[in-house]
């Protein structure tokens, strides 16, 4: 399968934070969710991919091209939504439409206007007079209106209400239908990612803790709920992390099937991405 994005050994050092050898790849036609705590390194990774930060080590390839050497060629086919609001708030959606049509060769003026209508966004109202959710919708439709091949979205859906979020997620699903386009999205709303992401990359403290298919995580991973005595019988190499609660031990395991074969413990729950995140970060080994 061709990769649309490849990140190899990305390293970036700040005074108080380090991004340590981040590597992952995103195949064509797929959606990858980047998850992790605030300050884990998700935004820094996205900024490096987009060359918003440019002094880093490692290699980043987009559309099989080096992102430093072929920056302009690559960027015409990328749609971006950043974590912070980024359009000057004095502009109107019409101003954005008129500016972008001179920036992108593929800019679809009518598509942008259709999206404005679809999301009930006023075309002549200054951005500062729009709600936070409306601003985010405007940023998302701007990212989509030049027919990009790769969408890079940093917390793009977090400020949307559930209905708007569903509409946007449907558009994202539509976007990857031709199997040539991909999405890299960082989000705290892990339930959304469970529904539509194909891959999950989990970053913590500047390191990748895991990068797997979403199905693999949700189907194979499990949480064993057991007593102290039962927990003591489990070999350390057979679990990832555990957490002691008031009444039981919660143990995160990588492979439910093999675990069942080896141990006589049947109380194994399905995991959610949120469970995995919490246990991997807060749990002990």
């Amino acid at each position: 399968m061709d990769n649309i994005l490849e990140v190899n050994n990305l390293y970036k050092k700040y005074d108080s934070f380090e991004l340590k050898n981040i590597s992952f790849s995103l195949p064509k036609g797929m959606i990858m969710g980047l998850i992790g705590e605030n300050g884990a390194g998700k935004t820094t990774t996205i900024k490096a991919i987009l060359n918003i930060i440019n002094k880093y080590e490692g290699e980043i390839k987009i559309f099989n091209l080096d992102n430093n050497k072929n920056e302009d060629k690559i960027k015409k086919d990328i749609g971006v939504v950043l974590d912070d609001m980024f359009f000057p708030e004095i502009l109107t959606p019409n101003d954005i439409n008129n500016s972008m049509k001179s920036i992108y060769k593929n800019w679809d003026f009518n598509m942008f206007n259709d999206y404005l209508k679809k999301f009930s966004l006023p075309s002549n109202k200054q951005i500062k007079k729009l709600s936070k959710g409306m601003r985010k919708k405007l940023e998302i439709i701007t990212a989509l209106s030049h027919h990009p091949k790769l969408l890079i979205l940093d917390e793009a859906t977090s400020s949307l209400d559930p209905i708007a979020r569903r509409e946007v997620l449907d558009i994202f699903q539509e976007f990857i239908q031709n199997e040539e386009c991909s999405i890299l999205i960082s989000s705290h709303i892990t339930t959304d990612l469970e529904h539509f992401a194909d891959y999950i990359t989990f970053i913590n403290d500047g390191k990748i803790l895991l990068s797997k298919t979403c199905d693999e995580l949700l189907e194979q991973y499990g949480i064993v709920k057991c007593t102290k005595n039962e927990f003591k019988k489990i070999d350390k190499k057979d679990y990832l992390k555990y957490q002691k609660t008031k009444y039981e031990y919660q143990v995160l395991i990588e492979n439910k099937k093999e675990f069942r074969k080896k141990y006589n413990i049947n109380n194994i729950d399905r995991t959610t991405l949120e469970d995995i995140m919490i246990l991997m970060i807060k749990g002990e080994k």
């Binding site: 900024k47 987009l50 060359n51 918003i52 930060i53 440019n54 002094k55 920056e71 302009d72 960027k75 015409k76 990328i78 971006v80 950043l82 912070d84 609001m85 980024f86 359009f87 000057p88 708030e89 004095i90 502009l91 109107t92 101003d95 008129n98 500016s99 972008m100 049509k101 001179s102 920036i103 992108y104 890079i152």
Partner: protein, 210 residues
């Protein structure tokens, strides 16, 4: 790049109504010989362009612009071209107003004096902004305010010091030369200063992380 210039111009369209009112008030005052209209030129263009820098900084536009095709390379170029466009349009408007005021006051138009004044205003405004922009790009608009204040007052102080303490008669030949050829020298000097300023700003911006 045209898109980035457009974006800067869209950003100032709200200020234009306010500037038209100022122009009308000052035109009346100029008609009554209370002020000279030419000083408005640097005021208008600096205020308008600072507005664009302020909004860019407040809304973190610079991070986004680097994600656009040719965004990082064209952003600085677009800012300089938008500035020159605004200075040129302001010069034309103030020149026309000056012609009108002169005509209503004297029934004639002193083309030579007005055009010379406006040319010098265009020149000095462009120079002021050429000094400002590398400072803004280096330190950001917030910190640059202090830097700009220091630069402008240093120039004023040096000018004041030079006129008081230097004997310009010793520069007589240079003065005569400048007096005869300023129409050629100043545009060349302006292009040179603008180019150097642009290159410094571009170099700073290309290396910047957002």
């Amino acid at each position: 790049m045209l898109g980035l210039i457009k974006k800067d111009l869209f950003m100032i369209k709200d200020s234009i109504k306010f500037l038209i009112i100022i122009l009308l008030i000052y035109s009346i005052l100029a008609y009554q010989n209370k002020i000279d209209l030419s000083f408005l030129l640097p005021f208008i263009s600096v205020v308008l362009m600072m507005t664009t820098f302020n909004y860019d900084s407040y809304n973190k536009w610079d991070a986004y612009v680097t994600t656009l095709p040719m965004g990082r390379k064209n952003s600085v170029k677009a800012k300089y071209l938008a500035t020159l466009f605004i200075i040129a349009i302001s010069t034309i408007i103030i020149t026309i107003l000056s012609f009108a005021i002169d005509y209503f006051q004297t029934n004639t138009i002193d083309y030579k004096t007005i055009l010379t004044t406006m040319f010098l205003c265009f020149f000095s405004t462009s120079i002021i902004e050429s000094f400002m922009y590398p400072v803004i790009y280096k330190f950001g608009i917030e910190k640059a305010r202090i830097g700009i204040f220091i630069v402008v007052f240093s120039i004023a102080f040096i000018g004041e010091f030079a006129t008081k303490h230097l004997n310009f008669s010793s520069f007589n030949k240079i003065y005569v030369f400048l007096n005869n050829y300023w129409i050629v020298i100043l545009p060349i000097l302006l292009i040179l200063i603008l180019y150097i300023s642009y290159k410094i700003s571009e170099k700073i911006y290309l290396k910047k992380e957002f």
